[in-house]
Symmetry: C2
Subunit: 373 residues, 2 copies
């Protein structure tokens, strides 16, 4: 039923606004021609306030993981001591990638339903002055936990380590203040809160990180920062980029700019709060406590979770994501990022409450919260 209209409530890729999709179908242009030379820097410039930085934004044609590898390949040499904060699937990806690049990986594991503890990170760093790079996850979409990056950055004190943050599923929906918080590298991608299709990653480096990058001894070419810098001098990408997605991003940024970043962030918080309120009203258990609850995705414990969401997908046309790692089959993940509104949360909750045979319970609670907001 409703195969023609699926409500995509997964933590990415997220629904793309029709006007953004329409822009992907604009005629192809020469990526070394004048039109693209104007568009390319203009679009990247407008990402700066969303990253909270004055530094350049690098665009990589690739998945979010390609953006992560741009950080690792430019900062990690064989034997570089790094600290990976691991509390979910994407924290593990940092760890696995750093290992693949020959780093000496220190792993600070925290429970998958909690955030990394800044105090513990601070202690670990004191004991390990040799650590050169910390890899953290802002929003761990696999568990619906948001980490307090500002506090983690502060916990470094005067430790030398660079801080690299995966902000793939937070940037554009949650405040990221790269310069103010003292983050050295922020990685994000097109298909989450930025409301474009997947296929572009974005990375920004602090000056200190760039200096380290120049000295890295890792094999890299596609992700080599210095090649990007060389082409940037003439406002060009080094390799044929995904031109259609740059068109799309231009349009998507216009939507974000018209709403205003603060309103965007408030909308994400409201969507989170409505989902949590509705779920609680149904007596279901939330995976993550209030303090670490992600504004972009919510995990809910449900019996036979995979069957539950399969039923909802087929019967109501609402698609949730399942659990990963220790939560596989035990939770559903409700995406509420990017092109989504509080009304969309009501339909998501409606599908859940109807499946549980309790019409109106969750939606009413969520509406009351919205009215009071």
């Amino acid at each position: 039923m409703f195969r023609y209209k699926q409500e995509l409530r997964i933590p990415g890729p997220t629904p793309v606004p029709p006007q953004v999709l329409a822009r992907t179908s604009a005629p192809m242009v020469n990526h070394r021609g004048s039109a693209f030379k104007e568009l390319y820097p203009r679009v990247l410039e407008r990402l700066k306030p969303i990253f909270g930085t004055v530094e350049q934004i690098y665009m990589v044609t690739g998945s979010g993981t390609a953006g992560m590898e741009m950080a690792v390949a430019n900062l990690v040499s064989p034997g570089t001591p790094v600290l990976c904060l691991v509390g979910g699937f994407f924290g593990q990806r940092w760890r696995d990638m750093c290992r693949a690049f020959g780093a000496e990986v220190h792993e600070l594991v925290y429970p998958w339903d909690k955030a990394a503890d800044p105090a513990r990170v601070g202690e670990y760093l004191k004991e390990h002055p040799e650590i050169e790079v910390i890899f953290a996850t802002h929003n761990e979409s696999s568990t619906a936990v948001i980490n307090d990056i500002e506090a983690l950055a502060k916990a470094r004190g005067d430790h030398q380590a660079l801080l690299v943050v995966d902000a793939v599923s937070s940037l554009g929906g949650v405040p990221v203040k790269m310069d103010e918080w003292g983050i050295d590298v922020v990685v994000s991608a097109s298909q989450k809160c930025l409301m474009a299709p997947p296929g572009l990653a974005f990375v920004s480096f602090s000056r200190r990180a760039k200096e380290v990058a120049l000295k890295a001894r890792t094999s890299r070419y596609y992700f080599d920062l210095s090649i990007y810098d060389r082409y940037w001098e003439r406002n060009e990408p080094p390799f044929t980029p995904n031109i259609s997605l740059v068109f799309a991003l231009d349009e998507a940024l216009q939507i974000l700019e018209a709403e205003g970043l603060e309103n965007v962030f408030a909308r994400h918080r409201l969507m989170r709060d409505m989902v949590r309120e509705g779920v609680r009203a149904l007596g279901l258990e939330l995976l993550v406590a209030e303090t670490y609850a992600s504004p972009t995705v919510t995990g809910v414990k449900v019996d036979d979770a995979d069957q539950f969401r399969q039923h909802i997908r087929l019967k109501y046309g609402v698609e949730f994501a399942g659990g990963q790692g220790p939560f596989a089959g035990k939770i559903i993940r409700i995406g509420h990022m990017g092109y989504a509104t509080p009304l969309d949360m009501l339909t998501a909750l409606a599908a859940i409450e109807m499946t549980l045979g309790r019409p109106g319970i969750a939606t009413a609670a969520a509406e009351r919260l919205w009215l009071e907001a």
Copy 2:
């Protein structure tokens, strides 16, 4: 003039058919959901006859260079002796990338307006039995030269070296017979003869190449074949792919399949021959001799080439590419690949002959050739 209708006659990105562009704007789907699990293997399966292989096609979200790096990162370890055949910008890219990955690079340089000589390659290999991988370019779009890959593959004799071929600007417009010719790795991309926007690369590995890949000691994650293999078991890509482009490719392949590959190849040869005939009629010099003339792009020597093509772009709305390396400013490159017809060659030639004040000369010659074809 005509800013709203630019005839993109560059060797990629190439014009994308409107029906393909329209498919890029289909609603987003879950890349781990049932619709994509059906589409993804189906599209990749249909690339096999175009690659001329029964082996699996790997899809990488990235530029063509990402596909090249997938070959290098999986086959080259620090110190691996490799032979790069360099006769243009993209041959240099193989060389630079292999160096970046720590290979012991042997470089066989051939003139930029000629093809690699299979006999010389055979001799070089005899003198260097230690070479493990040969990197070649099928269609060197920077110079409009096509290399005889079949002959290069034969020239190996019983030498151990794997043969890796960049077929980015040939595949889908020119026959590629990976299995029959004994190529070990073929790399291509979405934005040339495959008629989709840029952003996807495709790579196929022979069994022998896959065995080598398992043993490679290079730092890699995003391009790690074994990660792709693991996800392939459940018909999924490892990282969030460019979903819109897979939709586009599905449509573009339908167009290619409807025309029939042999007809597609014949169309490309005809377009090349018409352009060459027209250019000759104008008394202009072709960069490349008949034997190595690329069916997808043609280089033409022109005085003040950059000014010449700038004039044509602004006055007639036809966009050609310029020269690279030794030919910078000395040639124009006329792209005739993918979504282009013999009629498009007439308009390209019309813009050239009008600029030279010789209306009808080139187009008449090209039409006569077409009539006789």
